[in-house]
């Protein structure tokens, strides 16, 4: 061997590597998420991929909305003629933290085998994602509209409303382009941070090297499909967890606000309006989801860990008034579930708690397909 041979090998290798990276910058790589083994080789997931403990839950959190949708059992190409399709969007209480897929709100509603008056099967699809942001919900609804729903259920809670926290969710922060489009289309009152990257940094971010994490996530999502199909497990269910606090701090602030009323300009009611506008003729049912109403220490000040009484009461009033004035379909289930049925958070229910929620909800939504 001589130095020239080695130099040539290294230079050619480097050349190929650079060319491949340059070519990759013109590929719309997020669209790669539409290539999926789910619903083909592996069965589609019952809810979005989400999780940190991949080894035990065969799941991961990723930021590619296309890939997330493609991993579901939801088929965009054609809705079966005998199906009435209901999409359920929302936060972790919709996604179902500490619940198996069949125990979630969408899972329990689907298990009822409901039918429309013309004999179509009412199918409920869980499009919840475990972070609290209405803008994140809107972004998911935007993609979900391609799946031709007949009805949209949108459980919400006050914690998702503060305008200053709309982009805190990692999935929102990593999809600012989508959110910017929504902002332009619906005039959302959001402050989207400017892209402070240099042109070179932006270019690097489009190369294979710059996207290695996202590409690896796409690949891992496909591979975990095998174990999801094999086990039906998509979340770690610990034998023990820290229950939601019943004894509360004597703190009357919410999001740094003192009260006695919420400033309506600081909560993202415009995002709800955008969602309803986006759905067009398809009915959207806003549901104020059940929250833990504690009877423990300082429960005269707060309902639970999240909410002081003044803020939550005012939120309910605002939501009810706005729904009445704008003609929104609104159902308030805030106290439909007793505190014993909450698990590790003031909005997370156990399976029996979800059953109670379904029991309260069902009579109020049956009219949409009957």
């Amino acid at each position: 061997m001589n130095g020239r041979f080695l130099r040539n090998v290294l230079l050619k290798g480097l050349g190929i590597f650079i060319i491949l990276n340059l070519l990759w910058t013109v590929v719309d790589s997020p669209k790669l998420g539409t290539l999926s083994l789910y619903d083909h080789l592996f069965r589609g997931r019952e809810r979005f991929p989400y999780g940190e403990n991949s080894v035990e839950s065969y799941n991961l959190s990723l930021n590619n909305i296309y890939a997330m949708f493609e991993s579901l059992r939801l088929d965009a190409v054609e809705v079966p003629v005998n199906e009435f399709r209901v999409l359920v969007i929302g936060d972790s209480s919709t996604w179902g933290t500490l619940l198996r897929p069949e125990e979630t709100l969408a899972g329990q509603l689907d298990a009822l085998n409901l039918s429309t008056s013309d004999g179509r099967r009412v199918r409920f699809y869980n499009l919840g994602y475990p972070t609290l942001s209405l803008t994140k919900d809107l972004m998911i609804l935007d993609e979900g509209m391609d799946y031709m729903p007949d009805l949209i259920l949108w459980p919400v809670t006050l914690e998702s409303f503060p305008r200053n926290r709309q982009l805190d969710s990692p999935i929102a922060a990593n999809n600012l382009g989508r959110i910017q489009s929504l902002q332009q289309e619906y005039g959302l009152d959001l402050t989207i941070p400017a892209d402070s990257r240099t042109p070179l940094q932006r270019f690097y971010a489009r190369t294979i090297v710059g996207q290695r994490r996202a590409l690896a996530d796409l690949l891992r999502l496909q591979v975990y499909g095998a174990m999801w199909s094999a086990t039906g497990i998509d979340q770690v269910y610990p034998a023990e967890y820290t229950p939601a606090a019943r004894d509360l701090e004597p703190d009357a602030t919410f999001n740094g606000w003192q009260g006695p009323n919420l400033d309506e300009s600081q909560i993202s009611l415009d995002v709800l309006q955008a969602g309803i506008q986006m759905a067009g003729s398809i009915p959207v049912v806003l549901i104020n989801e059940p929250v833990l109403v504690s009877s423990g220490k300082n429960s005269d000040i707060r309902y639970n860990f999240y909410y002081p009484r003044w803020a939550y009461d005012d939120y309910r009033r605002i939501l009810s008034d706005r729904s009445a004035s704008r003609g929104w379909n609104y159902i308030d289930l805030w106290n439909a579930v007793p505190q014993e049925r909450f698990t590790n958070s003031a909005i997370h229910l156990d399976p029996a708690g979800v059953s109670l929620e379904v029991k309260s909800l069902l009579p109020q939504i049956e009219g949409y397909w009957r």
Binding site: M1, F5, L219
Partner: protein
Amino acid sequence: MTLTATLIFAAFALLLAALSHTRWFGRARNWILLAASVLAVYWLQPALPIRGLDFWLPSLTLMIAVWGWVLTSSPAERNLRANLPVLAMVLGLILAIALTRYISSTGILTPSRPPQLLQVLIFLAASALLIYLISLLKPAKTTWLWFAIAEILLFFVILKLPALTTLVSGWLRSANGQNPALASALDIRWLGFSYIAFRLIATLRDRQSGRLPLVTLQEYLIYLIFFPALSAGPIDRSERFIADLRNHEPVSSAQVTEGGRRFILGLFKKFVLADLLALFALGPVNAAQIRSTGWMWVSVYAYTLQIYLDFSGYTDIALGISRWLGFTLPENFRSPYLNQDLTQFWNNWHITLTLWFRAYFFNPLARALRSTRKPLPAVWVILICQILTMVLIGLWHGITWNFVVWGAWHGVGLFVNNRWSEWRKKRAPAQPSENQMRIARYIGTPVSTLVTFHYVALGWVWFALPSIPLSLGVISRLFGAG
């Protein structure tokens, strides 16, 4: 070995390959290899929760290696003065690594900050004293060689028996002022010890039988801790390795090309295929979660392929890097899953380990059993030797019941295979007809390969899981029960 470490080793080896054409390199090569291997012993050692242990274990590896040379060398080779520069270099490197505690609070080449200098100096002084005392022993006296082998086996048992590892960890934690209640079997992970121990035992036994070539301390140390083969083998024979070591020919283009091919193949097998398969291969967590027979088979097949690709990938990487350094290490895998019987499988699976056990356990045991006053029948000798050898190979992976069963599974399989081959040989026609040959080729060969593959795959169920009930549960599920 991480991908980063692998790539750094590769770059280093390629640099040496390029330098092999310079005039001075021939003289410096072995020194460079020794220094790189010594540093790799520290660098590859995983971080351990017991204070200082991730420094002491690599240091002990080096000292055991030096003691091994002193024990196995002849008086002529044992000329300490001639080998003193090498010893000084090793001790100097240990000291240099220890001194990095004054540069970094986290450790530079070690996973954590090295211990205090005084402790290291005491260790070095004690080691040097021991080297001197061992050198006073009657050269290569069998008793001392057996004693050394027993010591190595004792280390093995401590490392491989979880209860004992935990106990020793508790002692070490107490001695260090750490909480012994937190002791765990994972506290003592000694990088490369399994492979180094095999090479050590081989040299000790070869010394006893007079087969060990004359080697200098430098050659002996490089053989034991050669950095490409440190963490996952292969287990080379000393006489073959030393021949490569003494060949100072510049590395040729053909060697670089061949090394590159093996290296890239190894990277792909290990870091792409095996790591992907690991995501759904059979393991303690998913064994209890998988609900259907079909998916259970998928996970067993995935594990079967994963363990092969992982291990043979590492071997390819080691062979590729070695080729760039001018070494031709022995092959460890030759398409093992494409063999028609279990004997052939073991002739092609982890070949250097199998050869080691054959040379240092199976053959001596078989000879011993046959040379008793009332020799056992040949069938019994085969049965005993095969089961004991395979159980020992199982125990090498860890002293648990599952590894015992895995070893016995293969021992019984090899014995049955042996008897079946004998039975068929007696009944096979001397001149098979064309029809018989066609049937053998198109039906016999695929069926035999498939049966062998599945026997091995089912064996992995014992290997991959930590308990007998869990393994039985998986096997039941594989056959539609449970």
